[in-house]
């Protein structure tokens, strides 16, 4: 373990920035493209995870534990949100027999 750790040189923070940006973008594209509500939720989870990774990377590179604590809390919130979100989804499915988000367009002019 220590050898792996101590030989962790050469990866600058830029690499992590690039990685997480691309991951976040994939999440955004997922939200925009897919119409299945489940997949949309999962894309949102992916976005959250990309942010988590970046935060953790920054906290390691700045030697500040607050970043990782923040990641912990983000996970907490993500868990709670998924629970509520899926409950809502189930409710909608019961009422409209579909989870296509385009069916929920009644809040319009």
């Amino acid at each position: 373990m220590d050898t792996i750790i101590t030989s962790l040189q050469g990866i600058s923070i830029q690499s992590y920035v690039w990685l997480c940006s691309i991951l976040f973008t994939i999440g955004v594209v997922g939200v925009l493209i897919r119409r299945n509500a489940i997949v949309v939720f999962m894309s949102i989870e992916m976005m959250l995870n990309s942010v988590n990774l970046l935060l953790a990377a920054f906290s390691v590179y700045r030697n500040d534990p607050s970043g990782q604590v923040f990641v912990f809390f983000i996970m907490v919130v993500a868990a709670a949100e998924v629970a509520v979100g899926l409950a809502l989804l189930v409710m909608i499915y019961r009422n409209t027999q579909t989870i296509d988000i385009n069916f929920l367009n009644k809040l319009k002019w």
Binding site: I13, V28, L32, I38, M42, V60, V69, F73, M75, V84
Partner: protein, 163 residues
Amino acid sequence: MFSTVLFYILSVILLFSSLMVIFSRKPVNSVLFLIVSFFAISGHYILLNAQFLAVVNIIVYAGAIMVLFLFTVMLLNLNKETEPRKPAMFKVISVITGCLLAITFIGALKGIDNTPHNFSDNSIGLIKNLGKVLFKEYLIPFELTSLLFLASIVGTLMIGKKE
């Protein structure tokens, strides 16, 4: 050097599985690919010596949240081949927008110092140290998260009841 290779391998796995999440037809496949990507992220955490986070990521995200997703998909039998063909133009525009977003992010975060980091004193990811910080400076938020969970439990039950 070895770690660099590891980093790139993990990144490739991560990106590939993410792309498959959004591009697969069946929802179950999407869920499974997302789990793979979570594992890759945990690998990244270990690379950063954030051990606690790596483990918590697997337990909470891959173990609980994704299972919840799978439950929902299975219970409601949502595994049908989903949406009818949308006009391809929307997809193209969305992808282009996404790339624009990525470029914007990267451009925004460009000026960060490029010096490689010295990992000799890298112990903040250990459970002992993280626990100390969590329970000393961030005690109150920690306690408040329990309230948050209470609220979400109550909310879920309220919404999910068959009335």
